[in-house]
Symmetry: D2
Subunit: 328 residues, 4 copies
């Protein structure tokens, strides 16, 4: 809402909500008081008839109910959930425990990570917007995997995420008093982002990659830091590894490769669409340590969705999402 | 639990819970893993038969169901809720919208603020443990009111409380993401602690005192700062006002009067039973500004209840609650 | 920097710094990595020659060194410090303990609060951009004072500010460990914003107003909540008081008067130029309680300075500062 | 101070400080107002003459100046710094860039991790109290290494630490505004705790172990979570791995092995001497993921030092440090 309202080429024509139907936006989000929008409860056909593009930000299982009507009406759909992220429908059904209702649309859907799939995004009708953790981990590893520099078939990704990644929940476990001062791992060895990470890493590598992914909750609202450990093939040096990143991300408007000795930080990307990346290489063990930072609600969700929209409609890719991080 | 488990003269004989009945303490509060306690669901008679003193930490309306059985069994009850704080049953019923089921016990109950009612507490069978806001405001004003130094019948108390004052709630409004960075007033002109504050201030003053009390939520877990504004009668000076506080609180183990130019702070009392107080006087307007800080879960709740228990059973008043604040 | 870089009609021609001279902006503020700016050390003449308007964000005493050269070069100066806020040079010198070096420019300078001094700002050469606390307190009281509705000559303002109000300091007292969980008052009865508040309130009232102003530090980065207590003359009701605010702020793009029962919150304005206001009236005591919230770095500093610039140069008043608050 | 003041068998006879000499404890730490202690500046002989045991909490290089006098006087020294942690003086000198002034005392000093070196601690004259990160990582791995279950010579430890680990610093980089909402790695591949970790892991394993250790700062005051990744030799199962931990830590008063599916959390140990541990095993990759949580100022520093003191003087090992975590 915040991004789309200020986007120079977007007109927000309708806001749908199962929870807040009939309410004014300002009564739900006091930061948006004074804006003249009201939530409606709408069916897919209504939504498809009103807009050129529909964003779905809902639990899995919702977007696939809307997608057929949107596509039939000749409109486009960007799903911030997981319904359109998997190439393998069986994998989706295994991890999310429901049947996919439109596997033909899943088959044509594009994984909405512009730095990896920009050309396909431009032509897509349906986008599966990447998960927040996968965005950080895939961008951290793409240069190494594409260059076939990775030795092992196993990568270790240790991620730290702000609390907003869990969504807006009425749950004691997400209360201010439980989480202030709290750090803990969760979903060890079984987080649902794992297959999504493995799918994209394997595509980049041209072979099956296994990811051991350990997410941790840290007491900040926004931000993800992913620290990735990966064995490199013989023959690489600190400089040649760094060169892979420089060439791969040259010209990318939203990826900032940091100078040596500088490290990504959540605050340096808060409120923006940036992904900051550092790369270190320990020659004695051939281990590369790559760190990536994003705003999980920005590049990890909403502003990445707007970036996809810009690409899909031939707009300036940075339109509406060029805002600088809010600091401090 | 934390305080009682470590108290040198207390044996915890039973833990009752409507919500967690049957569960091990460590599975409810992971900080208490390894302790050998289990929650039961118990009726008042069972509870009364097992213990010498019963603490009730529950919403209003619960303690008054337990009190008669406890008192009849010759045991003592300390209610951390509001059922036994009011001298005027009508006031209770008006503000809390329920009928009081044992007004005879309310009549004999003592308001458990040791610095004001120590002698009565020693003989009490039923204690209404003070609210967190009232504790800070009453201790801030007692020296002025007892000395009849207050000019107006109106005091203004502007309080700032940590989030734990709201209890352990599954409510989006208390989530980490909504409250990090958040400050706001609430219950302006109608907070339920107002009549409790006015009751005790009026008792101290010997006349009807009106309190305008504005609570604010601040983004910390523990701690209350109450800043109180009150007009002083002619004839007082900065020194004489300060002298009232020095004499009043001399020898009190848990009240620390700060040196001039020093101010109470939430961190300086966190985890302890201290109440820190500063007093300033603006001679040009005759306005005194008194600031008090407590840990709302300590002196504002649990450790104050233990202090009352110590007094009721003739133990050392500081037993089990002499721990120093946890800093930083 | 963040605001000016994204402002559609601003070109940043030079960045001066005594501390960071010679450094790239991204090495000082990692959030701004990738921007192509470098800090220089510049003298006033250089600065005046390069730009149409100069913003000074420095301790008091600095802006008055730059102002004469800027004005002589026919350019405009907006001081975010205190050198140009006072109508009475003696008051400035008394509170800030230095001599004012250009009292003639102080005499013509305009207090840059657009909602109060819009027309004068449009014609000003030198702006004294308001302090963060004064902005919130003056906007809270303007409707009452202009309507001559205030009974007393004394108002009580109890303010709570985020830590960024103290500036970027290497001081243990502002460290993360000391301030997490910390709430405390400071500068009781002697904060330097007091004379600035009294000057503007007195101007609005047409008579001398005395302010008892108590600032508190609360553990958030951004945001101020000011809770103001003021006695109202006989004859007013809740509705008529509210009507004063509705009429006064109708059409103001950055003041949001909240519906009854809703209260200002720091998060609802974070990152924006909004000032949110609530007003309550206790008919039994004739006390009005007005609460105002701003982002101390936004409406309380930088975005208000940009708002002044927009007015001074005939631009759309909201240009570059219409961004919505960042939530959560 | 907080722990020793409340310890039943300790009398604090002197407090020395280079920074706060002559000041009352309450004026330095407002949480300790009311205690009757004053900092002195003292030389080693004075200190040695007054106490049975001397705790040194100072930068490296200080304790080794005090140790000879203390030992000669027949007293004991517990250094919370790094001067007495290394078996290899060359390693110390290489990492800390100074010469060690009493290598003979270093040679007899004991690494003060009771769960590993309890018997030697009982007889020691000089203790090198372990670093916070090493404490968590060594306790996480001891059962696997002692059982010779580890396949690789390389372990990966990804740690997250609260800010208090950096000490009490006047540094913008540790300010509230810079660190609220901030997560970042630091000292990648070159943190000074690395050789200390490798020394103890190698001792436990009976062979040279290499550690890739990546510390991260997370925005909490207290607490460390270390997530350790290690390859296990063939033949182990989830159950047999878990069994190693159960047997190893049975009876340890301060190590809590968590049930399967439960994970360590910083809040569950805050203010206590506990180390909470979880262990997972991915049979498909033979990777074990062990997570350990401690309070970096508790088990990671002060309360561990008190635990060593208790052992050295034949006191109850839990005396003075049996306090439960402060929650929430």
């Amino acid at each position: 809402m915040r991004l789309l309202h200020c986007h120079p080429q977007v007109e927000l024509v309708a806001l749908s909500s199962r929870t807040y139907g009939g309410q004014d936006i300002g009564s739900v989000f006091s930061s948006l008081k004074g804006l003249n929008y009201r939530f409606k409860e709408m069916n897919p056909e209504q939504i498809a008839s009103e807009a050129d593009v529909v964003f779905v930000a809902a639990p899995h299982g919702v977007a696939m109910q809307f997608a057929p009507a949107v596509v039939e009406a000749g409109k486009k759909l960007i799903d911030l959930g997981t319904d359109f992220r998997f190439r393998d429908v069986a994998l989706y059904e295994q991890w999310y425990k429901i049947q996919h209702s439109c596997p033909h649309l899943l088959a044509e859907a594009v994984y909405g990570l512009p730095e990896v799939h920009r050309l396909e995004i431009a032509k897509a009708r349906v986008i599966g917007n990447p998960g927040c953790y996968p965005t950080s981990i895939i961008l951290a590893l793409a240069p190494l995997l594409e260059a076939r520099a990775v030795a092992d078939d196993l990568i270790i990704a240790d991620s730290k995420s702000g609390v907003s990644g869990a969504g807006r929940k009425s749950d004691t476990a997400y209360s201010f008093c439980e989480l202030t001062g709290e750090v803990h791992p969760y979903s060890v060895l079984n987080h649902r982002h794992t297959p999504e990470i493995e799918q994209e890493l394997s595509l980049l590598a041209g072979r099956k990659i296994k990811a051991v992914f350990t997410p941790h909750l840290v007491p900040t609202v926004r931000g993800i830091i992913s620290t990735v450990y990966v064995r490199i093939k013989p023959g690489y040096t600190r400089e040649s590894i760094r060169g892979l990143y420089e060439r791969r991300y040259e010209g990318e408007p939203f990826v900032r490769l940091l100078d040596e000795g500088h490290y990504p930080s959540t605050k340096a990307v808060t409120g923006s669409n940036y992904c900051d990346i550092s790369v270190d290489f320990d020659e004695s063990t051939s281990l590369a340590i790559v760190v990536a930072a994003i705003d999980n609600l920005g590049k990890g969700a909403s502003s990445q969705a707007v970036q996809c929209m810009n690409i899909m409609f031939g707009l300036e890719e940075t339109a509406g999402i060029a805002g600088l991080p809010l600091f401090p």
